[in-house]
């Protein structure tokens, strides 16, 4: 889940929780406020009565009667005075039932005892719960509505603002991370934002990419220059040995040694050649304007490599469609790619084994060529690294090869946006597939 969805979810849920909490506590809150206010009101009524009593005496209420009682028309409130035993003392507010003229009603009741004239009197002031609570419901409803409206407004504002706030981040991710391809050749444009965090994220990403790009460029340059510089001394050595070989003083033994040196030198030459080739491909020094028919390409490769097939008595079955042409490719590079794969298929095959070359046009218009051998196969744990430079598959095998053949294949494939696939089973065989994207494939008559 990305940041914006998480934030949206969090904001919505937290606001919902607040609303829920408020709605749940609202009755208690409003009830509490009403009760507190009622109690205060009852106390005020008590003060009034006591005021009257202290001024005019308790008789102004009793008027000769034993006790006094009075209530409003709808019995919402009442007041009563009656004598109690001397020394009796009470002062409390509670909720209780009172029966007034056959009506049983719930009242909030204040009970207070006070001395007056010669005795002690008990005063009760009451207010029906119904009157107390009569505004609770509408109050609750209004409060809820207001709250909901406020929450809704803040929610919308929050969501829009976070979206606006996070937009540069999305831009950074899209332009700097998602849609960038190693080695980040294109220049980066800084993302416009006033948020300093994003600014520093953006600038560090840009500088990181520049560093990577620079390091990669340096490595490329180094490979090209180093290989190039190595060629001259290799050439000198090679020519020196060639001249030395025919010197009359050179004995047969020395000659054999010289051949050994030549072989080693040649190996060095081949490695440097391969490295140069890879660096040239990576430097995009090859044009991709040629076209080639796949069947012809394989024929040419086989022409070059046939002697190896017959030497190892490997049978070959070729089944390639003739009316397919690859366009916008480099013929020499594709030749090299096919050559290296074919060479591997022979090299790592068993004697008397076989190689099958097949192809298919996929539903999406891409074109796939497969080279299946009956060779020693590649262990699963080595599959991931066989395209690495100087990584030799089948280490145990005494096969020659300096681990650059498949690296070259990879570079050429990457350069053409070709995908190379491998399926392999140890001691059963390996299938290399070359998947040409649709834009390289052209049907011809």
């Amino acid at each position: 889940m990305n940041l914006i969805s998480k934030l949206t979810l969090f904001i919505t849920l937290s606001k919902l929780a607040i609303v829920l909490l408020f709605i749940l506590t609202l009755p208690y809150l409003i009830g509490g406020i009403a009760r507190t206010y009622t109690d205060y009101y009852l106390r005020q009524q008590q003060e009034k009565v006591l005021d009257v009593v202290s001024k005019n005496g308790v008789e102004s209420y009793l008027q000769g009667e034993e006790s006094y009682g009075s209530y409003t028309m709808l019995k919402e409130e009442y007041i009563s005075l009656e004598p109690v035993a001397k020394g009796f003392s009470i002062d409390t507010i509670y909720t209780d039932e009172r029966i007034i003229e056959q009506d049983t009603l719930n009242y909030r009741v204040l009970t207070h005892s006070f001395p007056a004239d010669s005795g002690t009197y008990l005063m009760e002031v009451g207010k029906t719960i119904d009157t107390i609570d009569q505004y609770n419901r509408p109050l609750q409803r209004i409060a809820t509505y207001v709250l909901l409206a406020l929450i809704l407004i803040t929610l919308v504002v929050d969501l829009f603002y976070t979206r606006y706030l996070l937009r540069p981040l999305g831009k950074i991710i899209n332009t700097k991370i998602k849609n960038r391809k190693f080695p980040f050749n294109e220049n980066s444009v800084p993302v416009q934002t006033s948020t300093t965090d994003f600014q520093s994220l953006d600038t560090s990403l840009i500088s990181l990419m520049e560093q990577i790009h620079e390091a990669f460029e340096k490595e490329r340059e180094f490979t090209a220059n180093a290989s190039h510089e190595l060629m001259t001394p290799i050439g000198i050595l090679q020519n020196k040995i060639e001249n030395l070989m025919v010197e009359p003083e050179v004995t047969e033994l020395v000659q054999l040694r010289l051949i050994g040196m030549q072989t080693t030198l040649n190996r060095l030459k081949r490695i440097v050649h391969s490295l140069l080739l890879i660096s040239r491909i990576e430097n995009e020094q090859f044009s991709k304007k040629e076209f080639v028919r796949v069947a012809e390409l394989f024929d040419d490769v086989l022409d070059e490599i046939n002697h190896r097939l017959s030497e190892r008595e490997i049978s070959l079955e070729t089944n390639l469609s003739k009316n397919l042409e690859l366009v916008n490719v480099n013929r020499d590079l594709l030749f090299q790619l096919v050559y290296n794969l074919m060479n591997n298929a022979i090299r790592y095959n068993k004697a008397n084994g076989s190689i099958r070359i097949w192809d298919q046009v996929n539903a999406d218009g891409s074109y796939e060529v497969g080279i299946s051998d009956t060779g020693i196969g590649i262990p699963e744990d080595e599959l991931a690294t066989i395209f690495n430079r100087f990584k030799k598959a089948n280490q145990a095998e005494e096969a020659a090869g300096y681990g650059l053949g498949l690296s070259i294949v990879k570079s050429i494939a990457d350069y053409h946006k070709i995908t190379i696939g491998i399926i392999s089973e140890v001691s059963v065989g390996t299938t290399f597939t070359i998947l040409f994207p649709e834009e390289l494939v052209d049907m011809v008559e």
Partner: protein, 225 residues
């Protein structure tokens, strides 16, 4: 034949010179473009071997200048740059061949020989080899007017050995000539041996082939007076 080698890497130049002298060429050296053009202005040369990576002038410019001074010479470009573009431009500018560094001296001689045949039309197309006649131009081998069928690679092998007659050629050198950069690392394998065996088999049906010698552990050579 007079050769001018324009090459700034002196050690390399001396090796090429030594080799060419042994092959009976007369060889002059120039270590920079200025000197080379100067010499071209004074002396006629049959071959100009031109390194493209000279310190004082761009190699392709030198080629243009040199062609003006001596249009009849054959030009072979030597370069470590190895760009295909360089090669195309070089050949467009009138170079006769192109040899990427590092090159084998034997290959250099073979190219020069081929140019000689083509360009100077020397009468060395037909060579005698024992009872056989080899026509390098038509690429045929015959025995008393009867043509013997050899594959392209077999003929290449035979003519390369013949060109460097009386010199042992290693399997690696032969491989490199036949398969170029696609020569594989496993020289010990018997591809070359198989080809030689086939050549011997085809030829010996007509006459003796004792001139094609196997040098144990080293390679092959053609012995010829």
């Amino acid at each position: 034949m007079k050769v001018l080698l324009i090459e700034d890497e002196k050690t390399l130049a001396y090796e090429v010179e030594a080799f060419l002298k042994k092959a009976f060429y007369i060889c002059d050296l120039a270590h920079n473009a200025r000197k080379g053009l100067e010499m071209l202005g004074v002396n006629p040369y049959d071959f100009v071997l031109l390194d493209l990576g000279l310190p004082d002038l761009d190699g392709l410019k030198v080629l243009q200048e040199a062609k003006k001074l001596n249009p009849d010479a054959a030009y072979i470009i030597l370069t470590a740059r190895g760009n295909i573009e360089d090669r195309i431009v070089g050949l467009d500018l009138g170079a006769d061949d192109y040899l990427p560094k590092p090159f084998s001296l034997l290959e250099l001689q073979s190219r020069m020989q081929a140019i000689s045949r083509r360009k100077f039309n020397l009468n060395t197309h037909e060579l005698d080899l024992g009872e056989f006649k080899i026509d390098l131009q038509k690429r045929t081998v015959s025995h008393s007017e009867k043509e013997i069928e050899l594959t392209r690679k077999e003929f290449d092998l035979l003519s390369y050995l013949l060109l460097h007659k009386n010199r042992v050629l290693t399997r690696m050198q032969l491989c490199e000539h036949i398969w170029g950069t696609f020569a594989d690392d496993d020289y010990d394998s018997n591809y070359i041996d198989v080809h030689i065996k086939n050549i011997r088999k085809k030829l010996s049906a007509f006459g003796p082939v004792e001139w094609l010698e196997t040098v144990r552990g080293v390679g092959y050579k053609i012995r010829k007076q």
